[in-house]
């Protein structure tokens, strides 16, 4: 693909709000995970909860969108000046020339979960104040963002479980390549809810400790929430050296199982190879890999086989889910932007909570952060249903 400019970006997770807070935590090797005390849940696990989400108040004209997921979306949009950059792009190109491509897995489902506790005891009806379209429906996120900026271009929510917001970058890149838009708001938001906490617990995929990606003793994920946004544009000829670029994307399907990865990581390998091909790069061009690394035994083993087969032990890798938790549908965008920080701040992120990297996975797995020049980075995102997406980012010379 023709490289695209990532002209503005921001991310918010349990590590902190915005780029500076995230960078400081990544440099310190710290983690934002804490024992689960979300809502009325009673599960012995750790989660990554974003601070002060419910302090967000949506504009009165958009009150119909009010739910935890859109509060988190607004909190993210109003960080690092992202909202101003989107408005400036809309003024420059026209509001009909800006597309919205956002990923989420469960979106505003918490709003439906809460509404089901308030059903009419006689009729069973849901309360009148529950607005399905603007909260529960997966499109709520993309439509909220489109309305937040009064945009009039195309919009879609990508919902492929934990690869959602990585695939949002690919969908946006395609529309930019066709010239059907001039800029794209891309990213992802997923927020804590009972469905994912009890759901992953039912599959025995939640750890009772903070998750330990690629650890010999890894035993499950830490469910988390996050919001990550970027503005994608075609690359101008006079782009500033050091500008962040999207260089390639690759997508594939496992065609294997609904909730287990292909045991040899075949789908993962195909996505990585497609992303490298799209970027016109080979494995030794990559200086850092942000692994999907959920810390379930099967995910890390499968992904590890794919990465070992392509990169051997040459390329520094880590999963940052020990720091942020698994932000599910937001993970693709969150980790794409962790790659952005690695590229623009000479940082190889580590893997908080991982003590002993699994010797059965022969890759260069990094436990502690280290300063290093990173020119190109790969980010992996894989989801239920066997949905795989890898992205390649770089910086302009």
């Amino acid at each position: 693909m023709t490289p695209l400019l990532v002209s503005a970006y921001t991310l918010t997770t349990c590590l902190g709000r915005g780029l500076a807070a995230t960078l400081a935590s990544l440099r310190a090797g710290s983690s934002g995970l804490a024992p689960c005390a979300f809502e009325t849940t009673a599960i012995a696990t750790w989660i990554g909860e974003v601070a002060a989400v419910d302090d967000q108040s949506l504009p009165a004209t958009l009150a119909r969108y009010d739910c935890r997921n859109n509060r988190l979306a607004q909190l993210g949009l109003e960080t690092d000046g992202l909202a101003e950059r989107v408005r400036a792009a809309a003024a420059r190109y026209g509001s009909h020339r800006i597309g919205v491509f956002l990923g989420t897995s469960t979106g505003g489902i918490l709003q439906a979960e809460l509404a089901y506790r308030r059903r009419d005891p006689h009729s069973g009806a849901l309360p009148d104040d529950f607005i399905y379209r603007n909260t529960h429906n997966p499109f709520s996120l993309a439509e909220f963002a489109r309305d937040y900026f009064d945009l009039e271009g195309p919009a879609m929510t990508v919902s492929t479980a934990c690869s959602s917001s990585a695939k949002a970058f690919a969908a946006a890149a395609r529309q930019l390549a066709c010239g059907s838009i001039d800029a794209a708001l891309v990213g992802g938001v997923d927020s804590l809810c009972l469905t994912t906490l009890y759901g992953f617990a039912s599959l025995e995929l939640t750890s009772s400790q903070p998750c330990r990606p690629y650890d010999t003793a890894r035993n499950g994920i830490s469910v988390a929430e996050g919001a990550a946004f970027a503005l994608l544009e075609r690359l101008p000829e006079n782009a500033r050296p050091g500008s962040l670029l999207l260089l390639g994307y690759g997508e594939s399907s496992d065609a294997y199982h609904m909730s287990s990865p292909h045991p040899q990581g075949l789908g993962a390998r195909m996505a990585i190879e497609a992303a490298l091909h799209s970027a016109g790069l080979c494995p030794f061009d990559i200086d850092y890999i942000n692994l999907h690394g959920t810390a379930t035994p099967s995910n890390d083993a499968a992904e590890g086989q794919a990465v070992a087969a392509l990169f051997g032990e040459r390329t520094p890798c880590s999963s940052t889910k020990g720091a942020t938790g698994h932000t599910l549908g937001a993970a693709g965008a969150v980790e794409a932007l962790i790659c952005a920080l690695a590229l623009t701040h000479e940082l190889l992120p580590g893997s908080p909570h991982t003590r002993t990297a699994d010797p059965a996975i022969p890759i260069d797995y990094r436990l502690t952060p280290r300063p290093a020049r990173v020119r190109r980075a790969l980010s992996n995102s894989f989801g239920f249903g066997g949905s795989n997406c890898s992205l390649v980012f770089g910086v302009s010379a």
Binding site: H96, S105, A112, A115, R174, Q175, E251, F384, G385
Partner: protein, 267 residues
């Protein structure tokens, strides 16, 4: 920046809606050769799935599989080679209701199968298991604009990535109490196999551009009601052209104020 037209050849169609079990029936009705008689949608058993998955296959999975397989068979194409774009205004409504209902009780130990079937991309996951297709698989939602969103991304995959791409747009009903909040009447959808190169099986060439005109309507009141109540069937004015092998441009509802103008040239 010059715009690359979002254009593709339509090589196959799959269709399923209340009173219209497949594309040949829909063709006859859309051509006016057969009267439309409303009837509940009939969902075929997905024999392509392994027995364990077949038992778990919900209405929405049966619907999506039937649509995709019909379009691929119509085009005489190997489904295992196709990229896919699934687009739906919601996922499995019955499963969603069961989860929300249980999570509102004191016993929140939900079934793991219910949980993995709750993802918006469940039908796409079962498609992969059924067909062995390892090509890119997109899964979108844009509420009432879901057909348009899917069409835009599927055409972009054809134009940019040069993949033969199977667009599967489908919707299914919610049970009460969600049904009152989102009154989709029944299961329905359409699949279009879109390819970058013309073949002997190509039915038409379509090109999509943004527009602001009002969407075309169907003369038959019952068909028009299907168009407006089931998001995937916002495609019906285009299908009307394809069924009658008529050329010309037709406007489809997308996302206000943006509409999609589809220029259609039959082969």
């Amino acid at each position: 920046m010059s715009q690359t037209p979002l254009t593709a050849w339509v090589d196959g169609v799959g269709f399923l809606a209340p009173g219209m079990p497949d594309w040949p029936t829909a063709c006859a009705i859309l051509r006016g050769e057969q009267a439309y008689t409303p009837a509940p949608s009939v969902l075929p058993v997905p024999n392509v799935l392994p027995p364990a998955e077949r038992r778990r296959a919900s209405r929405v999975v049966k619907l999506a599989l039937a649509l995709g397989l019909e379009a691929a068979a119509h085009a005489e194409t190997d489904v295992g080679t196709l990229a896919t774009v699934f687009t739906a205004s919601g996922a499995d409504g019955h499963n969603c209701h069961a989860l929300c209902e249980q999570l509102a009780t004191d016993d929140r130990r939900i079934s793991p199968t219910r949980f993995h079937n709750s993802v918006h991309n469940a039908a796409a996951g079962y498609w992969g298991i059924a067909t062995g297709a390892m090509a890119p698989c997109q899964v979108l939602c844009a509420f009432d604009a879901s057909f348009g969103a899917g069409l835009l991304d599927a055409l972009a995959q054809v134009v940019v990535d040069r993949w033969a791409t199977l667009l599967i747009a489908y919707d299914s009903e919610y049970p009460e109490p969600l049904h009152r909040k989102r009154p989709i009447p029944d299961c329905a959808g359409v699949a279009l196999l879109l390819t970058p190169l013309q073949s002997v099986r190509s039915l038409a060439r379509i090109a999509v551009t943004p527009g602001t005109d009002a969407a075309a309507r169907l003369a038959d009141g019952e068909l028009e009601s299907l168009r407006t109540t089931i998001p995937a069937l916002r495609s019906l004015p285009l299908l009307h052209r394809l069924a009658r092998r008529e050329g010309g441009s037709v406007c489809l509802d997308y996302l206000p104020p943006m509409q999609l103008r589809v220029d259609c040239v039959p082969c």
